[in-house]
Symmetry: C2
Subunit: 153 residues, 2 copies
Amino acid sequence: MENLDQTDKTILRILQNDSKKTAKEIASMLNLTVSPVYERIRRLENQGFIKKYVAILDKMRIGKAVTVMCQVSMRYHNEAFIDEFEEQIQDLQEVQECYHAVGQVDFILKIHVGSLEEYHEFLRYKLSKIKNIGVLNSIFLIKEIKQTSEYYI
Amino acid sequence: MENLDQTDKTILRILQNDSKKTAKEIASMLNLTVSPVYERIRRLENQGFIKKYVAILDKMRIGKAVTVMCQVSMRYHNEAFIDEFEEQIQDLQEVQECYHAVGQVDFILKIHVGSLEEYHEFLRYKLSKIKNIGVLNSIFLIKEIKQTSEYYI
DNA sequence: TTTTTTACTAAAGGTGATTGTGCAAACGTT
DNA sequence: AACGTTTGCACAATCACCTTTAGTAAAAAA
């Protein structure tokens, strides 16, 4: 019940790369009929293996030419400040990802903006407004070597 | 032709969060009928704004409990070594993302594995096998504050 | 004004999603 | 070995939506 067999894994691999594939197409790739494939997909959804289906946009096409990994360290590490930081990050549209890290930095943020000017404004008028930020370190990503949402299973 | 109007942007925002939404549902959200919505979606696909549709898995559910940002600097910065690195990264299943950076480090990798043990093996038997790697710095991500594939448009 | 473009509504045919039934193989138990 | 249970699959039928086409209206350009 809990485990994924090889067929499940193959279905997940296919859907991670193209969720528009029909149950029919997947079935013929697996030498099955539609219904077992359909049932498996529904089970994978209901059991939470598949979290959601999304469209992936071309970031250059929509004018997000600049990607930055922003490393943030807090000045003081008390719970209230941390909570406040995490809350405020949610509302920043430029922040696509934010993680609490362990090591040299406290947080790592992935930022998408249209230009260096926009990034400057993001830093100056949004990120810097959050209290208690100590060190702030920007690493600009100038080329995508590999970029996927797929997990290997 | 080239630009996105407000309707396009709303459609893209909806599809970035749930690509299973039907044209019918989107149409009713926008107070439109089905065909203009459908035509716009097809146009957004054909013009490359929408790159693909994917299923997003729950990484904990599929046993990828450990996420690491791995910062790599090369020993020598000649083109051949760089190209070789970029090629070999493609084949590493644990690497979900890899970017060429500018600043203190040369590359940033996002790694997903099931355990610290697995990460150790990844470093030892896969990443370290790549020639010319100098500094290698692992930052463990212990909590997702924000995690999406959506671009704000 | 005329032409062209753009975005829309409406309707219809094709296709896939969805569901139910039944079969067959595998497994566990007696 | 025989029986019951479970699991996974095939088949078929219905339903909903996708997809396309044709036609209309409004706005922009000539």
